[in-house]
């Protein structure tokens, strides 16, 4: 068994009950049940347009579900509850990185917004993601993969229990993927959880994600 199983918590951190989501007038998925416990990585699988990103946004409280409810640690999660947001970090398609600021400035703002610094300094986080020497250059001058790394560095500087990552591996090279793999591993070892999407299978060495498909009929 993968080592991750050992640390799985009994009580789910986040629980979705009979969740349905729609975009415009189209229903993306219905009656989805999802449980995410501390110590596991859940990988959402689905074809393009099946609603992976929408699901993540709903789970973060960025948009309300069409039907169903969300529970955080067994309690109904009201959208906009600060105590939930303090525990969740979301990295979406648009990474939330300002192109005209340097990676350091971006992270400083993220730390102030997140409110719970981990104690990992910005410099350490950037070095861990292999972009330490670009800390003072505008993000605009960095490549797509490097920008993705700047966004991911937020996970190290801001404390949170649940990481919600939309296509975290898209622009990353093999080295980047292994860094994120190690970060995920340490996160779940410490009792955290992560939900990731990826439309192509990625070979992760240390973490074994639990697949959840949201394709209709699956």
């Amino acid at each position: 068994m993968p080592q991750t199983e050992l640390h799985r918590d009994r009580n789910p951190l986040l629980e979705a009950v009979d969740l349905s989501c729609s975009r415009g007038h189209r229903t993306l998925f219905e009656n989805l049940a999802l449980q995410v416990s501390g110590g596991e990585v859940v990988q959402i699988l689905g074809a393009n347009g099946s609603g992976k990103t929408t699901l993540l946004r709903v789970l973060c409280g960025l948009q309300p579900p069409a039907a169903g409810s969300l529970r955080w640690r067994g309690r109904d999660m009201s959208p906009g509850a600060p105590e939930v947001y303090a525990e969740v970090q979301f990295i979406g398609h648009a990474g939330g990185v300002k192109l005209d600021l340097t990676p350091r400035e971006n992270l400083d703002v993220a730390i102030a917004l997140g409110g719970r610094p981990t104690g990992t300094t910005v410099a350490t986080a950037l070095a861990r993601l292999g972009i330490g020497k670009f800390g003072r250059r505008p993000v605009r001058t960095l490549s797509a993969g490097q920008r993705q790394r700047v966004a991911l560095a937020r996970l190290l500087t801001c404390a949170s229990l649940l990481w919600v990552l939309d296509e975290p591996f898209t622009a990353l090279d093999a080295d980047g993927v292994s860094i994120v793999d190690a970060m995920l591993y340490e996160h779940i070892r410490a009792g955290g959880a992560a939900i990731i999407t990826s439309h192509h299978p990625v070979a992760l060495g240390r973490v074994t994600p639990r697949p959840v498909s949201i394709d209709a009929g699956a």
């Binding site: 946004r57 973060c60 409280g61 960025l62 948009q63 309300p64 959208p79 906009g80 600060p82 105590e83 947001y85 303090a86 969740v88 979301f90 979406g92 398609h93 648009a94 990474g95 939330g96 990185v97 300002k98 192109l99 005209d100 600021l101 400035e105 400083d108 703002v109 993220a110 102030a112 917004l113 997140g114 409110g115 719970r116 505008p138």
Partner: protein
Amino acid sequence: MNAFIAIVRRDLLLAMRHRAEAANPLLFFVIVVALVPLGLNPRRETLELIAPGVFWIGALLATLLSLERMFRSDFDDGSLELMLISPQPLPLIVLAKILAHWLVTGLPLVLAAPPIALLLGLPTSSLAVLLTTLVLGTPTLSAVGAIGVALTVGLRRGGMLLSLLVLPLYIPVLIFAASAVSAADGLPVTGQLYLLGALAVLSFTLAPLAAAAALRISVS
């Protein structure tokens, strides 16, 4: 409070790195006000009569021009989502955005006012009142504008709708401010100034709440 300072600081930094874009509203304001005497009658009596109105219409349109920038880039690059799921109170973050917008757009208008007032031949006795109306009125424009931008930021072409939403709300500021400046040469103006002050307080208290709610709707 940290988040508040960080957002103000960030927006000022961004404005510094886009100096040309940030200076656009001020430039527009100066051009409008400088062209009016050329297009109309440059006689002193005419100018004195229309200067308060021209001044305030220029300030209002310049602010309108700059409004969309308040949340647009944050919406496009995902920074807005970070603000929405931040544990910090969203109205506080919105207030920081409004303050930064005023510092970048409103404050330059206030600072540019004295030389431009000379250009329009505004009596020096009215200058103090003009500056007071600008100091009290331009923050209201930024705060009320934030509601409109928050409502339209999710739309691809929200510019026209933004003007339609925001301009009617700007009219009280325009009326009281311009009338205060016109009356400054002899008549009492405290009434208008109190009203402008009241509008500023009202908009700074309620606009962050309204804009925060509107942002949640726009992003979902």
